[in-house]
């Protein structure tokens, strides 16, 4: 299955701390995407990383991809209470086969 699996299922940290979430997958992919979902809303795209890339940054977000280990990590630095949300990875080759994992529920306590 190309479906990613996030780890941990839930993460609770204090404001200001860093949050790290991981995604593992089983088959080869050509890109991996991270999304965020606030309660009661749709998913919002955060970062897309292609299989020939190892690291990407966007603001306080840092994504790494290790294709040899079939894993990716999402790091949120200097977390804020507003970062509280569920985070999902999606893996695949093209539009027609991107599949989402069950997500990591992040709680950032003020």
């Amino acid at each position: 299955s190309q479906q990613g699996e996030e780890d941990p299922q839930a993460l609770s940290i204090q404001e200001g701390e860093n949050a790290t979430m991981n995604c593992s997958y089983k088959t080869s992919i050509n890109n991996l995407q991270w999304y965020r979902q606030n309660s009661g809303r749709g998913l919002v795209h955060l970062i897309l990383i292609r299989s020939n890339e190892r690291e990407k940054h966007s603001g306080r977000l840092r994504v790494t991809l290790d294709t040899s280990k079939k894993s990716s990590s999402l790091l949120i630095t200097a977390s804020r209470a507003a970062d509280t949300a569920s985070y999902f990875c999606a893996t695949g080759w093209n539009n027609n086969d991107m599949r989402f994992g069950a997500g990591t529920r992040l709680t950032v306590k003020p």
Partner: protein
């Protein structure tokens, strides 16, 4: 608007009734997806449309579920003879061609009594 729009935002209906959910994708997006998300769970892929190609229906859970899309515009997801297990949030997303980010609507929350 500029984003993906879904309607209705909430739907409550009795078991056995048919429901129709609507998705207006972002203009110009050739790909459109439907997902189901049960409370506290991840996204379950239902169906994928790409341009005029035959849709990928591999995720539809039963023949009570069907979806249509006219060209590269509006899509409707129909659930016939609804069951309580169909209660969930149904999310629609659209994207450009190739490996592109998906843009999501806020979903339709379906409750079957």
């Amino acid at each position: 608007g500029a984003g993906v729009s879904q309607s209705p935002s909430n739907k409550v209906t009795e078991k056995g009734k048919d429901v129709e959910l609507r998705c207006d994708p972002i203009s110009g997006h050739t790909a459109l997806y439907w997902y189901r998300q049960r409370l506290g769970q991840g996204l379950e892929f239902l169906i994928y449309f790409q341009g005029n190609s035959a849709p990928d229906k591999s995720g539809l859970p039963s023949d009570r579920f069907s979806a249509e899309r006219t060209g590269e515009s509006v899509s409707t997801l129909t659930i016939q003879r609804t069951q309580q297990e169909d209660s969930a949030v149904y999310l629609c997303a659209s994207s450009g061609q190739g490996a592109q980010p998906q843009h999501f609507g806020d979903g339709t929350r379906l409750s079957i009594l």
